[in-house]
């Protein structure tokens, strides 16, 4: 039996380690998909209304594309994100902003849901479990932001990553399918950046070194209907 010298042993070990690590490195994203959401993260957004262009709806289009929504705007159609133009009653100043699920820390929709279908993940994302939703629409009654839509018609051409269901309630998911793949930007924020507006900043509110946390420390921002005490994850600048 030949004796293994030190050099061969080290070389062999290094190769073994490389073989072991390489796929792990490549599959980092997939591996993250298997991690449960952690409360070390709270996903949120800072919307800079001064950068949001009137008439631009790139964020809406990107959301519809990402999530396989038809993009119709009738009273019975699903809208996960919408553009709203506002006028200050006293000053007459006009503001444009995107409106969506505010991913509240204390979400009224989760409180009222009889089956627990509406739930908040540890990382602050508020979702609807499509298997538990019975379609009672109590969450839509309770939501202070009109963020939710009810699927009024049979669905066709769904995206496998974004399962939906007739007769259930749905809303913005912060593109959870992206986040769980490790892509830490929502489709709307990405589209807004691409259009050069950079009005939507998405990030981790719990990380003091994240861009969003640093910016929130610097600029004056407000949460919609902060008086209700639901602590939305969306902050609006310039409102």
């Amino acid at each position: 039996m030949s004796e293994i010298n030190r050099r061969d042993f080290l070389r062999g070990s290094a190769m073994m380690a490389g073989l072991a690590v390489a796929p792990g490195m490549m599959l980092y994203d997939l591996a993250r998909a298997n991690q449960p959401a952690s409360s070390a993260v709270r996903w949120g957004m800072l919307i800079d209304t001064s950068q949001c262009e009137e008439g631009c709806d790139d964020c809406v289009k990107a959301c519809n594309k990402e999530n396989g929504l038809p993009g119709k705007t009738g009273p019975t159609d699903e809208q996960w994100i919408r553009k709203v133009e506002l006028k200050n009653v006293k000053t007459g100043r006009v503001t444009s902003l995107p409106m969506m699920c505010q991913h509240c820390a204390e979400p009224p929709c989760v409180d009222v849901c009889p089956t627990g279908a509406s739930f908040k993940r540890a990382d602050g994302i508020v979702l609807v479990d499509r298997h538990l939703c019975i379609g009672c629409r109590y969450c839509m009654m309770a939501c202070p932001y009109k963020a939710r839509s009810f699927v009024h018609e049979p669905l066709h051409d769904q995206k496998p990553e974004v399962p939906r269901g007739k007769g259930t309630v749905e809303s913005c998911t912060f593109c959870v399918q992206r986040i769980d793949r490790g892509k830490d930007i929502t489709a709307c924020a990405e589209a807004c950046s691409k259009a050069g507006h950079k009005a939507i900043l998405f990030g981790n509110l719990n990380d003091p070194n994240s861009e969003i946390s640093k910016r929130l420390k610097e600029v004056a921002s407000t949460q919609l209907r902060a008086d209700l005490g639901v602590d939305p994850g969306l902050h609006y600048e310039g409102l």
Binding site: V60, T73, P75, T76, D77, E78, Q79, R82, K83, V84, E85, L86, K87, N88, V89, K90, V94, T95, M99, P108, V110, D111, V112, C113, P114, T115, G116, A117, L132, C133, I134, G135, C136, R137, Y138, M140, M141, A142, C143, P144, Y145, K146, R148, S149, F150, V151, H152, E153, P154, G165, K166, G167, T168, V169, L224, R225, L228, L239
Partner: protein, 389 residues
Amino acid sequence: MDALQKGRRDIRNFYFLVGLGLLVVMAGLFAAHYMEEHGHIVTGMSNQVVWGMPHVFAIFLIVSASGVLNVASVGSVFGKTPYKARAPLSGLLSIAMLAGGLTVLMLDLGRPERVIVAATHINPTSVFAWNVFLYSGLVAFVAIYLWTMMEKRMNPLSKAAGLAVFAWRFILTTGTGLIFAFLVARQAYGNAILPPMFIVMSFAWGLAVFMIVQSAMYGWNEMALNPAILTRLKNLLGIFILGVIYLVAIYHLTNIYFAKQTAFEKFILVDGGIYPILFWAGYFLIGSVLPLFLIYSPKMGTQRHVLLASILVVLGSFSFLYVFIIGGQAFPLMIFPGYEVISSTFGDGQIAQYSPSLPEILLGTGGLGIAFLITTVGVRALNFLPKDE
């Protein structure tokens, strides 16, 4: 007419009523099937008016199901003999209306086939989830109560059972009021006066339903109601109607004096189209003032007048619920205080349009049909006719 002929006529009439009830129920079931197949697109409901006509019917039935037990409670808990004779009928009506109301609510769900999920996955913070227990509990308590009244050996327990029903229905109607009272963001709801308002409304509506059914049963048997008992019941109805007016007034005044709710109140009471009309003409005039006149006017107050007053109270209750439930949602949420919405693709800042479709109305009347059918069969099969000594 001899007894044989009367018996034959009774049977014929009974089957006619059962057939009528079945027809209404079948139409309701067909409507529910149609809604399930096509989705809620075939109703008038939308992403802003998420609860529509089925909820008007269902909440009427559920609130009245609790109120109709008033008659039983006055008999069992407060020991008044004329009411005791009416307690079994009041219990039967309660179960019948609860069954009708819950069926409508269940069949209106986006996924009615998942109703078992609602029974197996309970979110303890949800008022809806509490109501699952409150409704099933009431059926159980009333069934036991009926048993203690109808089975001689169980009679000694009837007072205790009556007391349990009395307490339970207070909690139940509080729960129904809380469904709306705990909605913080909507101008029409989120108001602590709602549970007591619903309780007093249940008294009035339930008693009105009881009077209608009792009149029909007496008419069927060619009997006249003892005038002393009629006076008691009609005075009670009058007091309940006044109580509802009082609480509805307080509800609106609270909203008006909450300075920011004035826009909503103006919409509901003054310039909101169908809603002010239904409120003032439907609820206030036809459903409250006219019945009070029929009850208290010196030349009125006969059995026929009281029956008409009761029917008007029921019509008024539907007007009230339409305004409360649908008008309350049609008015937009105040998401951006201090701002006016110039444009939105999702109806922000705009009054929502709603017109009920035939399927949702049929589903609602189907619920009434279920209550009617259970009552008709129950009254025929068992001895529910109130007998005064």
